[in-house]
Symmetry: C2
Subunit: 262 residues, 2 copies
DNA sequence: CTCCTTTAGGTATCTAGACGAGTGGGCGAG
DNA sequence: CTCGCCCACTCGTCTAGATACCTAAAGGAG
């Protein structure tokens, strides 16, 4: 039975100059927006839509790929096409690096995740010395080689963030910053113990589509951008002591900042 | 002549289990990354790639659509497929709402664009009273109706940002805030004159793929996400006096914030 | 010389069909 | 009753071609 015609989806307008696959995408999008298809729910199969609209399969697939590009749906091989659920987002407050948090001991990520009732994990540790990229070198003030600390963060098994910290060798080499686990309070606590009292941070935020690498590392669905955040930490002498390059799954984050009005 | 085989692109690996269209996309992506195809340059036409790889046209188009989804290339009907140039980005500093800037008179957007040597424009003014959305109402502290100020910003003719400010009616009605042009220093200057001395701002940042509406309004190329910024302004009595909802073309912006380390 | 038409070469859309491969339920053998 | 196989359904990939429309440059009419 064409149970589809039961109001969920309309017909095509052959007189319209709008491409058929766009018309189909429009109707599906509208049905999703109106909640006719709920989060996680399965859309009609390709075959059903072929039947309903009387078009070829490639046309239907084309419609799906439009919606996929918008991040509205995702396909599962052998199962169907589903409305992508808006995952619970993780809020990153601008005071997350406040000294008072650092003094508590545990890493900001772990504390916050625990508080939110999710299961945090840190992954794929790599700590090594390497040549500084042009960009990192500029930000750190013409440094040749750096200590790089790479890690991936997961929430409830889902990768949400991939970060690399770069520190000048003259600061980090031989200290516990060069250890896989830098100890309570993280590297910022260590930096302060080493006499680099932190003064302020600068954060640069971009958004873009992920590279294939990033898709793999963060297991991103298609149609999900990444937030690229580059933070530079300055000590009270005005020296840049760390650059942290972070790539986040955009559907997992809301960044939040407080700005004074002065 | 197959001038393509002259080293720019390789061959397919028929033994690989990687889909052919992905292999082609990989090769094109790599060639772009290595600068073999420069910004704005035309890629080989579909027909040429069909010839070169010995595949069907749909397969080549599939490859292009992968790269388009990554924001790497864009197609122009009747002309070809081109490497998408990275447009010059506009930096938004976190002190852009500092009182000292406001006291200068002109709007932050205009001043900044002039300084950067580009031609700024503000567009599609709309100022009207309307019912507050659930979200806006919550942020403003259970307000029913609001004054909404909508505008679109362009740089050198290119739309880069679309913003709506919401203000409680009891503050804005009948003041110059309800005028299309609120006067020097913008609505924040007017709010302060009305006795709402600003204390701080809260900004929430998300990134996502644009809706079809946003694609139209911002004339976005495919594969370009948007940055969605929601700013709430608080006066010194702790009252939320404005909510500004901004959607920015992600390829046109870098947001920059300074955070104290205290 | 200017303007319009033609044409070649691009992409956009659509069709019809084939085969591959993941998923899950039903059913028969044991 | 349980296990394992098979099959139906689903999306993934690819082919081969048809038609439409856009762009730019060449060439002809005026």
């Amino acid at each position: 039975m064409p149970s589809l015609s039961s109001g969920l989806l309309g017909d095509l307008d052959p007189t319209s100059d709008r491409a058929v696959f766009r018309q189909i995408a429009d109707q599906l999008r509208e049905a999703i927006d109106r909640g006719r298809f709920k989060e996680g729910e399965k859309l009609p199969s390709e075959a059903e839509l072929v039947e309903h609209y009387g078009v070829s399969r490639m046309t239907v697939r084309n419609s799906f790929s439009v919606l996929q590009g918008e991040g509205l749906v995702h396909a599962e091989h052998g199962k169907g096409v589903f409305v992508r659920p808006r995952p619970p987002v993780r809020r990153l407050a601008s005071d997350r690096f406040a000294r008072r948090h650092r003094e508590q001991g545990k890493s900001a990520f772990i504390v916050e995740a625990d508080a939110a009732g999710s299961h945090p994990q840190v992954d794929s540790l790599e700590v090594k010395e390497e040549k500084a990229s042009q960009d990192v070198s500029t930000r750190l003030g013409s440094v040749r080689r750096v200590l790089a600390r790479r890690r991936r963060y997961l929430l409830d098994g889902r990768p949400v963030e991939f970060a690399t910290s770069y520190l000048p060798l003259d600061i980090a080499r031989g200290t516990s910053i060069a250890e896989p686990n830098p100890g309570p309070g993280g590297i910022y606590a260590r930096l302060e113990e080493l006499g680099h009292r932190l003064d302020h941070f600068e954060e640069e935020i971009r958004a873009r589509m992920p590279s294939p690498d990033e898709v793999r590392t963060l297991r991103l669905a298609s149609g999900v951008p990444v937030i690229h955040l580059i933070r530079t930490a300055f000590d009270q002498e005005g020296r840049a002591v760390e650059v942290c390059d972070t790539v986040m799954a955009a559907d997992a984050y809301v960044l939040s900042y407080q700005l004074p009005a002065t």
